[in-house]
Symmetry: C2
Subunit: 337 residues, 2 copies
DNA sequence: CTGAAAGCGCTTACAG
DNA sequence: CTGAAAGCGCTTACAG
């Protein structure tokens, strides 16, 4: 039946000392005799005293809360979840807890989450930016609250970023398909207006151009958001004239949508497929799916480390880290089967 | 270059009012003339004032922080991630942010996370308990900090729980296999000492007994933790005498390990397979995998709602919610192929 | 309608 | 080695 939570004063009273002494003992500060410390410890244990970090941090010099916020598209996406875990682990090494939030790529949701976390005085924010304008965060940045963007560049603010080399990854994938004789390739993507999608399309185009192939044989289909649309688009391509012999799916969800479409026509072994982003069990598919792999754990780790670096030294120049991707060849691109 | 963060006092000075008036305006409390409110709003906007929820909550009656903690095995597990998202959504409706942490099933990690979140004064904890003793949380419970266990029963404390009917799910799966003529079935599980694993084994046994089949033809193999062990175990079974005609994998990781083993022998269409827990792309496998599905989103949702209910009324009796599972028939159990 | 005082649980800066 | 005072940014409880 809910008694009051014991405070340092309660512990002090029970131990018969001033409450500043309790503060010293609880925080392991020097300058307390062993006997006194012992008595304080016992009193604290008897009362089940728990330090209130929040109250402490209020007065504290730096005003840290030892918490940070992570905003991703959705914590339930595999990519985001892997990043989430890496952020947690990196944060833990700095004794800080992490608030997580999902934006669903909605700028308004993103803004609400960001405001909520900031009003809870997180020490910083790791953010997978939506397509919305983020300039409302500028005052926070000016106040030295570090914000690090991951996976995509943010709009409206100039902050540290950590992301994959999307163009190069796409280039590698398409170059590989070209090398293996494919001369009609379809590139499937979601919204071409998103930076990452645009970069992947650009990479695909550049590989195609480098090979001296006619532009019209690289079919770019974008705006694919639902699985239904994806399946329909692929079926349309397969059933149309001069169907592609290979598909480059610029995103996870599209890769699996393409698989479903290929399975529908029984063409999963005939038409080559490379996806962007690795995913769990991709190697258990039949055929196993080849992908351009990113390293979301590394992304999250580096972003978090950057955040702490900037927390330690706010004058650091803005830095943009770009991580290499790796082409993971399995069987769906026909080259190992 | 980091100026000081503006406070209500700063806004008050600029608006030429007392700072209590700022408090009223910022919190939308009544009893402020429109003119004054307008001036305060303008001053707040000019200074980019942001309310400090943490400072406010310190003095506030209930002492809420409008934050809660979620501890799962790992935020990167699909099951946990889906739950995470549901908890976030439920929490958001109560204007509360959620701290997340991964225990890796390690009681010590779990304890550190729990202590950290509690010292940050989260309003409550949604916890997927490890196998460790949790009685150190008793003082928090006595202080009316609600703790809700999900997915598994907690050890050492008596709190609200929300979990799936593991025994019934396993019973359904094995009964289905029996109905379809299987007379030699292998049950693969991780640690038989874990409550959920034990319940699933019990369920499988009960279905087997109900069918009046000889106990020795239901082979229970437990202690399977690494994918390597799982694959080896399945291969051993397949290559041994009187190999099972069907496998019941009592856990996600085991299901995919079994798939790998079956693929190795090219028996994925010959040996039936049912797994516990649905997973992404299970329907894209060849053959598509049949599973006993739980609803992790519902689990997370109900647990969070229960937490808020108890926050509103700490005298609520402890409640144990059990959710039905559903047998999702695809092709790996041979009944639709 | 408005504001000055006290207090939340702690830390900082001082004094003994 | 120890403690009383002031203050963190706010809300509560009062007074005008």
């Amino acid at each position: 039946m809910a008694r009051k939570r014991p405070t340092m004063k309660d512990v002090a009273a029970r131990a018969g000392v001033g409450f500043k002494t309790v503060s010293r003992v609880v925080n392991g500060e020097p300058g307390v005799s062993e006997q006194t410390a012992e008595r304080v410890h016992r009193a604290a244990a008897e009362l089940n005293y728990r330090r209130d970090m929040i109250a402490g941090n209020l007065r504290r010099a730096e005003g840290r809360t030892d918490s940070l916020g992570l905003l991703v598209a959705s914590v339930r996406n595999e990519f985001d979840a892997v990043m989430n875990r890496a952020v947690e682990d990196a944060a833990q090494r700095h004794r800080t807890s992490v608030f997580t939030g999902s934006t669903d790529e909605d700028p308004e949701r993103e803004r609400q989450h960001a405001r909520g976390l900031l009003s809870r005085r997180v020490d910083g924010l790791v953010l997978m930016p939506s397509h919305g304008d983020l300039s409302y965060l500028q005052p926070e940045i000016d106040l030295d609250t570090p914000i690090v963007a991951v996976d995509r560049p943010p709009h409206g603010i100039e902050v540290d970023t950590v992301m994959a080399d999307n163009a190069q990854g796409a280039r590698d994938a398409v170059a590989h398909l070209v090398d293996h004789g494919h001369r009609r390739v379809a590139v499937l993507t979601h919204l071409g207006t998103l930076t990452t999608a645009a970069q992947r399309i650009a990479g695909a185009r550049s590989a195609w151009a480098d090979a001296g192939l006619p532009e019209c044989d690289l079919r770019i289909v974008d705006g694919l958001t639902s699985e239904q649309e994806i399946v329909r688009a692929v079926l349309g391509l397969l059933d149309g004239e001069a169907p592609p012999t290979a598909v480059f799916a610029a995103r996870n969800q599209i890769t699996t949508g393409a698989v479903r479409a290929l399975q529908t026509r029984g063409l999963q072994r005939e038409v080559a497929l490379v996806g962007f982003d690795d995913f769990e069990h991709a190697d258990l598919f039949d055929p196993a799916i080849s992908v351009v792999g990113q390293d979301p754990a590394r992304l999250g780790h580096l972003a978090t480390e950057r955040l702490f670096a900037r927390l330690a030294d706010p004058s650091l120049p803005v830095e943009h880290q770009v991580l290499e991707t790796s082409l993971i060849l399995r069987r769906s691109c026909g080259c190992e089967g």
